[in-house]
Amino acid sequence: MSGSEQLTALLQNNSVAIVSMALWIFGILWMMPGRKVTPSRGVIPGLVLTLTGVAGLLLSFNAVYADVSEEVMFWAFSIIALVCATLMITARNPVYAALFFALATLSTCGLFMLQNAPFLAAATVIVYAGAVIVTFLFVIMLAQQSGAAGYDQTAGRAAPTVLASFVLLGTVSVLVSMAPPEISTVPPVDDSLRLAGAATAGEDAAGTAPGGGASMRIAPVDELLAQEAAAAAAAEANKPEPVVNLLSRATVSHPVGSMKGLGRSLFGDYLFAVELAGTILLIACIGAIAIAPRREEGAL
């Protein structure tokens, strides 16, 4: 196929996604402040365009979760996250922007829940909504007591930037929707490794649990045994011993995202990383103190 034919095919196969992204672009551009301070054009048309665009983009994947409630939650969280993100970057009032950011963060946390990450969802809400946003709001209030500032009413180079960003987004979405990438899953744990792991974990005798699909449920034992047999056969096919972060593997008792599993991972495989992150936090704290203006002697 020649280049132009390829391009035509690409456009035809992804017409829905492309059209919806175009709508979204127009929505953003509608709401985005201009180069000069101009009155707002009203958010409703932009909001409609954005909603349509986001929905179209998600619809173009043509897939649903097995569970209806999950599907509904996905739609709700995705649309809220993306629309709030759009509103956040186009808001002319930084306070609103921060609040939209909080909303987008909350929705993202909802998506985390959907992806088996309840702990992360909670942690993000606590860190962002509880700490970051509030602090930022304080700063905004402190800085902008006198109301609207000119620099919040203008934005530079909106059109090219939006186009470039959507080229990237379009590339990603077209690439993955046309030919979903094949990911290399970590091979099942073979006997020796599992024994080592079992000795470590004691109660993890049941081996690995498949975390595929929307499964947070534990698979029936006989099915697991069958799977193990298949895995052993695969392992015998002269493959080198796989390198894995053993403690990060999901097990039956510690499925992906559970507090225990995540804890084993963090304080097992990533023990040093945790220490390192702690050091970075220390540096950042002391750094923030050092950056903050020194107060006068005796003053609070």
Partner: protein
């Protein structure tokens, strides 16, 4: 006597001598250059004196020891420690004797002294294999030194004359601001000249050939604030470059055809030369022509002689040093050294002779009418160099004439060095006394005021004129004799007949103009220029003694070595020369004596007896007089046919450069400016626009990478 000396000189010591000869002046040059201006000041002559004295003594020892030192027959008188070194292989062997030597002289690694495998009693030679200096392909150039007969003679002459000149110079230059500079340059000059004659390969020779040119440039332009001196030094340098071009071409040709630049390999290999000459009959003439071109430049032969008279702008000791005794002899040395090559190019040899004849005649004619004493001497130098070339070219008459021809040329070079140095120094003494006035029209009758100068100048002039029994007489006889031989044998008889006539006429003219200068300066009524002050003073002792010594040399050196043919016998043993039986040519002697005396008489009658005659003759032959006085308009002709077209060409080049190249380059140079002028707009300081460009770059990179994937 030589046996005793060589037995006193073990090879270690001999090596030390060989290294000291150029080494002492080098050290002196460096010391004087570094410490002279601040520390030594008016004592700057001391390093130079001592170095040149050391050098001279070493040269004398080497000269005397050479015939036996490397003689295989004499090996048994050399201590056994060294007898391992001169072996048959010709390769450097580090014997026991050398170990101690290397400790003494750590600077020169792997030095070995040996007699060449080809060395016979006939051609003794000492070769020092120095450290390799340049490796290019199969060519390897080292600091290899070689002393054989011709080098030894040259060394003795160069160091001896230089020593006397340095002594004289300390008196002459006393009080000059550049006193240390003078002695540094003189030391450097002597070092270069010694290395030039000691070099054992063409590249090293060329290197020091250029060093000599550089030092002469520094010395001619010694008073660089004088525009004429600066111009003269530049002229000398540029004209010499033309000759150097020839030399370097010759070296390339030799390298490509012979595969080596070593004298031992090239010159010491007559069989190979013959083979190459047979294989390609234009090769050797071409090489020889190129070599001769180099010699023409350095030895001021027509038409490249123009630089030498102008070079008189340097201090007079410098004239004596460079332009009479040493530097200009480099060309003669080169041609003589390359005799084995020239033997296979008789046409070029004839050219050498013819060039010499033309040069000597023209120079003599010009010298007739010059009124500047130093210029007369300068033209006489050119003329005498022409004589030497005349002799060197006589080898064209046949192989058996070659050696007499070369020895005759070298002999004249040898004697000429002494009397010409003497004449220049005497002229310097006159100049010193006359307050730097050297034009003979402004003074006369100095014989009473400057008795020593007068007597020494008279001896030198007589020697130059060829008065019997003085130095010039013997060597000029040799040349006339060898010219006679050439005009009666071989293929080029008719040409050599003409050359012989020219030589005879030139000899007459030489006698005439020399004594014209002598009579004009020292006879007649006593007149001094105003610059001399009320009373001209005779030379100080430090200037007078070199004059006396040189006068003795000029008077006796010919007598010492001429009748006994010792010089010829010694020189014959150079590599490439064939021994021959030297004998007297009484007829020639008588003739040349008559000519000399005739010339002197003529001068006496013109300038002492009836001083009005020359003016009348000049009036009668006005055009010719003018021609001579204006140096045959050679400078003007050269300017017209060479310099002016080149200048026009240069103008065109400049125009092209300005209008085309500069425009191109300028427009090219605006590219970065305009490009960066565009790029600077991205650098406006706004951080989000920086991030924007980063983002565009990243997205573009993704798209490009995917489309290339």
């Amino acid at each position: 006597m030589s046996e005793t000396i060589s037995s006193m000189l073990p090879p270690d010591l001999l090596l030390l001598l060989l290294i000291l000869i150029p080494g002492a002046p080098l050290v002196s040059a460096i010391v004087t250059a570094v410490f002279g201006p601040k520390l030594l000041r008016c004592r700057s002559h001391l390093p130079c004196w001592s170095a040149l004295a050391v050098s001279f003594i070493c040269s004398l020892l080497v000269l005397l020891a050479l015939p036996t030192a490397a003689d295989p027959n004499a090996l048994d008188v050399i201590p056994p420690a060294a007898s391992s070194a001169p072996d048959e292989s010709g390769e450097p062997v580090a014997g026991d004797g050398q170990a101690a030597d290397q400790q003494e002289l750590p600077a020169i690694a792997a030095v070995d002294i040996q007699s060449s495998s080809r060395s016979t009693a006939a051609s003794p030679e000492l070769i020092v294999v120095g450290p390799t200096w340049l490796e290019l392909g199969q060519m390897s150039v080292g600091f290899d030194l070689r002393v054989d007969s011709i080098s030894a003679i040259m060394l003795a002459m160069v160091t001896g004359v230089s020593l006397l000149v340095a002594l004289f110079g300390s008196g002459y230059m006393h009080g000059d601001g550049g006193y240390p500079r003078f002695f540094a340059a003189v030391s450097g000059f002597v070092f270069s000249m010694c290395m030039l004659v000691m070099a054992n390969n063409f590249v090293l020779l060329f290197f020091f050939w250029e060093m000599v040119g550089l030092c002469s440039y520094l010395l001619i332009g010694f008073w660089f604030h004088k525009p004429s001196a600066a111009a003269a030094s530049r002229k000398a340098f540029v004209v010499n470059r033309i000759g150097d071009f020839g030399l370097i071409m010759a070296i390339f040709l030799i390298l490509t055809r012979f595969g080596s630049v070593s004298f031992s390999d090239v010159l010491g290999n007559p069989g190979m030369i013959a083979d190459l000459a047979a294989a390609d009959e234009t090769l050797l003439p071409l090489i020889c022509f190129c070599l001769f071109l180099g010699a023409m430049g350095k030895s001021a032969q027509f038409p490249l002689q123009v630089w030498l008279p102008d070079a008189m702008e340097g201090p007079t000791p410098v004239s004596a040093l460079i332009h009479a005794a040493t530097m200009v002899t480099a060309g003669i040395y080169l041609v003589a050294r390359c005799t084995p090559l020239f033997m296979f190019a008789p046409d070029v040899q004839v050219l050498v002779s013819a060039t010499g004849a033309i040069t000597s005649l023209i120079a003599a004619l010009i010298a007739l009418t010059q009124t500047d004493l130093k210029r007369v001497l300068a033209y006489s130098t050119v003329s005498q160099l022409g004589f030497m070339f005349m002799a060197l070219g006589c080898g064209a008459a046949g192989a058996e004439v070659t050696t007499p021809a070369v020895t005759a040329g070298m002999f004249h070079l040898f004697t000429h060095a002494y009397f010409k140095a003497l004449l220049f120094l005497a002229a310097g003494s006159v100049m010193h006394a006359m307050g730097d006035v050297i034009d003979m029209r402004y003074f006369s009758g100095l014989r009473k005021a400057l008795p020593i100068t007068h007597w020494t100048f008279l001896v030198g002039a007589a020697a130059l004129a060829g008065v019997p029994l003085l130095a010039g007489f013997w060597s000029k006889d040799e040349i006339l004799a060898v010219l006679g031989t050439a005009s009666s044998t071989g293929n080029y008889q008719s040409i050599f007949r003409i050359i012989r006539i020219v030589a005879t006429v030139t000899a007459l003219l030489t006698a005439f103009y020399t004594f014209r200068a002598y009579f004009m300066t020292f006879w007649g009524e006593e007149r001094f220029p105003v610059e001399a002050g009320h009373h001209p003073h005779e030379a100080t002792p430090i200037m007078a003694w070199p004059l006396r010594i040189l006068a003795v040399c000029a008077a006796l050196i010919g007598l010492a070595v001429g009748p006994t043919h010792q010089f010829q016998t010694y020189l014959q043993r150079t590599v490439g020369l064939k021994p021959y039986e030297a004998h007297f040519h009484l007829d020639v002697m008588v003739m040349s004596a008559v000519i000399a005396i005739a010339g002197i008489t003529l001068a006496w009658s013109f300038y002492v007896v009836s001083p009005a005659v020359p003016a009348r003759i000049a009036g009668m032959l006005a055009p010719f007089y003018l021609l001579s006085q204006k140096k045959f308009f050679l400078d003007e002709i050269l300017y017209g046919i060479v310099v002016a077209p080149l200048k026009i060409f240069g103008r065109i080049c400049v125009f092209f450069d300005r209008a085309v190249i500069d425009c191109l380059i300028d427009s090219l140079a605006t590219v970065p400016a305009s490009v960066s002028g565009l790029l600077k707009n991205f650098q406006g300081g706004v951080v989000t626009s920086y991030a924007g460009v980063m983002w565009f770059g990243a997205v573009a990179a993704v798209v490009v990478a995917l489309s290339l994937f």
